[in-house]
């Protein structure tokens, strides 16, 4: 991942800031921020197809923070997950970036899945999505709450570029890592 995406804090002159959120992430906040994003896209006259893809990727990134994120603060304090999601436009493309903490145990499997997705062509992503759906008929996934791997595949399907990601150790967070995911919708 290019450092200007992972560490982007201010829009460049060629970019338009559309939406950003940083803080606690719960289902209610996904709903509230999602509706705000929808309203913002409508006010910018973003066409329906694009707006739906942006919203879809936004929701999947945000729920990914809830399902795979680590709480901020002390490990023995049960608080909601925290993270950040930003949406901006550069020329005719819409960039989405999520950032959250994940545990050292969660990092390898997530990195493996993201790396695999990054190397797939759009046709292979579509095939994998269908294969995953078909396999769900015959298997029971260990996680009853998530999308059984369909979430990252959905983000990849919406994207016009391979999903990019970065995992960086956060020394002050007891071995936890910061996961940044960057995807581009057109």
């Amino acid at each position: 991942m290019s450092s200007n995406v992972a560490h982007r804090t201010m829009p460049e002159s060629s970019e338009r800031e559309i939406f950003s959120y940083s803080g606690a992430v719960s289902a209610g906040i996904v709903g509230a921020t999602g509706e705000t994003l929808r309203a913002r896209l409508a006010s910018l006259n973003v066409d329906g197809q694009r707006a739906r893809k942006i919203f879809s990727s936004f929701v999947e990134l945000a729920y990914n923070i809830i399902h795979h994120g680590e709480p901020e603060g002390a490990r023995d304090v049960k608080i909601v997950r925290c993270g950040a999601v930003a949406v901006w436009q550069r020329e005719q493309r819409y960039h989405l970036r999520s950032q959250s903490l994940i545990s050292a145990d969660n990092a390898p499997p997530i990195a493996q899945r993201l790396q695999t997705l990054r190397d797939l062509t759009p046709e292979q992503i579509r095939f994998e999505f269908r294969l995953r759906l078909t396999n769900l008929q015959y298997t029971s996934d260990a996680s009853p709450t998530g999308g059984a791997g369909l979430g990252l595949l959905t983000i990849a399907r919406n994207a016009v570029e391979p999903i990019d990601f970065e995992l960086v150790p956060v020394p002050s967070h007891d071995g936890r890592l910061q996961l940044t995911i960057h995807t581009v919708v057109q």
Binding site: G48, Q49, S56, V59, Y63, R130, L136, L150
Partner: protein, 129 residues
């Protein structure tokens, strides 16, 4: 069975299972954090209906503005259940309604339905709302 109706919410679709007329409808948004929790009772009701059902055609209408991945997983379970019932002899029509410009939802309909070999289904374009 008593008619099952749930109003649409920000995260979940309207549910109307009218057993008397054999018409089942899910309509709206579907992106709850835990789709299994929302769809679990719906799947149970559907399973019971299929077990108790007499002869006659059942129509299932699905119309979504947005479906997240967790809900996609639950819809796969729902359609697999219907496909299994159809394989056992039930007469079931599934209508997947999509707005004319919503390619993503049309594509999802194809992904969910194209491997359901025993179900009768159609993907229907509807005017923009």
């Amino acid at each position: 069975m008593e008619r099952l109706t749930l109003p649409a919410t920000q995260f979940t679709p309207l549910v109307d299972f009218d057993y008397a007329s054999r018409a089942f409808v899910l309509q709206g948004e579907s992106y709850p954090e835990n789709a299994a929790e929302f769809y679990g009772p719906i799947l149970s009701a559907l399973r019971q209906y299929m077990n108790d059902s007499q002869s006659g055609k059942t129509t299932v209408t699905l119309q979504f503005a947005y479906v997240n991945s967790s809900s996609t997983r639950s819809l796969q379970q729902l359609l697999t259940l219907l496909d299994s019932a159809a394989r056992d002899g039930a007469s079931i029509d599934v209508r997947w309604l999509v707005e004319v410009d919503d390619d993503a939802m049309a594509e999802l309909g194809v992904d969910l339905l194209s491997d359901k070999g025993s179900l009768s289904y159609e993907i229907v374009n509807t005017p923009l709302s």
